[in-house]
Assembly symmetry: C2
Amino acid sequence: MITKREAKLIKSLQLKKFRSQEGVFVVEGEKNVFELLNSSLEIIKVFGSENFINKHAALLESENTTVESSKGSEISTISFLKTNNNALALAKIPINTPMEFDNDYVLAFENLQDPGNLGTIIRTADWYGFKNIICSQDSVDCFNPKVIAATMGSFARIKVHYVDLKAFIQNQNLPVYGALLSGKNIHQTSFKEKGILLFGNESKGISDSLKTCISEEILIPAFGQAESLNVSMATVVFCDNLRRVQNSQ
Amino acid sequence: MITKREAKLIKSLQLKKFRSQEGVFVVEGEKNVFELLNSSLEIIKVFGSENFINKHAALLESENTTVESSKGSEISTISFLKTNNNALALAKIPINTPMEFDNDYVLAFENLQDPGNLGTIIRTADWYGFKNIICSQDSVDCFNPKVIAATMGSFARIKVHYVDLKAFIQNQNLPVYGALLSGKNIHQTSFKEKGILLFGNESKGISDSLKTCISEEILIPAFGQAESLNVSMATVVFCDNLRRVQNSQ
């Protein structure tokens, strides 16, 4: 049974204001809750259907998780997803997460706005073996339920850091690769050992202020007439080309 | 002034049933309506803000388009988009569109469900110079307003054909490249002159029935722990690798 108080809390966590206030975020759907259970994130409570609880009984027990057996219809009612009658969890937003780049490239995003894009980017980063993502402070919050949903569990492995992006980039003293229409063909780019891949806002691209930080202007070559690629598409193309080049060296 | 009858019609066109019945679909937002005006698609009516009409006056006149000057607030009310107070158009769904592959590769999708994915795929296809997309008949409708919105104007250039996918593939007698976890690394794939790139459903992937049609099993190599890539991400990786290899030959 999900109490009225819990339902109210969960509903409020759609908004960043209440997530910050409570230090809590919502994880929804079987895949995402399963990945949460397998992560080092601190879980407050899991609301699971009988089916979910039976399927993951061993994991729930070994993690010593507080579980509430709930009806599918109850979970549907509180879930933000269109179809989720399986599982929903409350977890603590981690604080002071250290940045560890392991000598790898850094993915950096300026003023990313669409939660679906950030979620997909987190999933892509996880596929291509990145551990951290850097976002400007005006970007969409990574604990937004729509972001979490789109990560398909990768939120549990990828750390998103919100920083003053320009200051961050200037402090790193690394080559900065930015997607610009005037750039060099990415298919012919030999990436340096370390660097930053920089992406801009969905409609405005990279701001003039940050463009000055770009040391390597890169073009994803177009063969048709679309004016641009979606930022999450550009991200996957950069990641794929980078890993291909790194692996052939 | 948008009449009650028009508002009712527009609202009904969210559903495929009414789009098929009326043979009409909705195009929303400045970029999409602009691309519609530049296309050969038959336009029924454009509802534009004063700003939109002034900006595109010459184009609207040269196309002899029926335009209704509308208040931004009126457009907002009828639009399915969160923020659109600029332009909305009604256009005729084209019939009997011929398939013309120009000896190029074919992008084929089985049981694609998410309108955002199909929209992004149409935009990606347009970026990489494809003209046609093939979908199984149980895939999401390409005239769904969410698909149109996500194409960022590319709906006006890319033709989507709904076919019996297995019969279509078997009739083509072309190599079929399918993304499978057991496949050959795409970074080391030398694509043949012509072929079909085949993608499956968002959660189930390619069905067993269609897997039997795959002649070239391809793997997008993973460097991290995500279980899969989103289908639109996989599409852009295939397109990018294909064009890179074709251009270096």
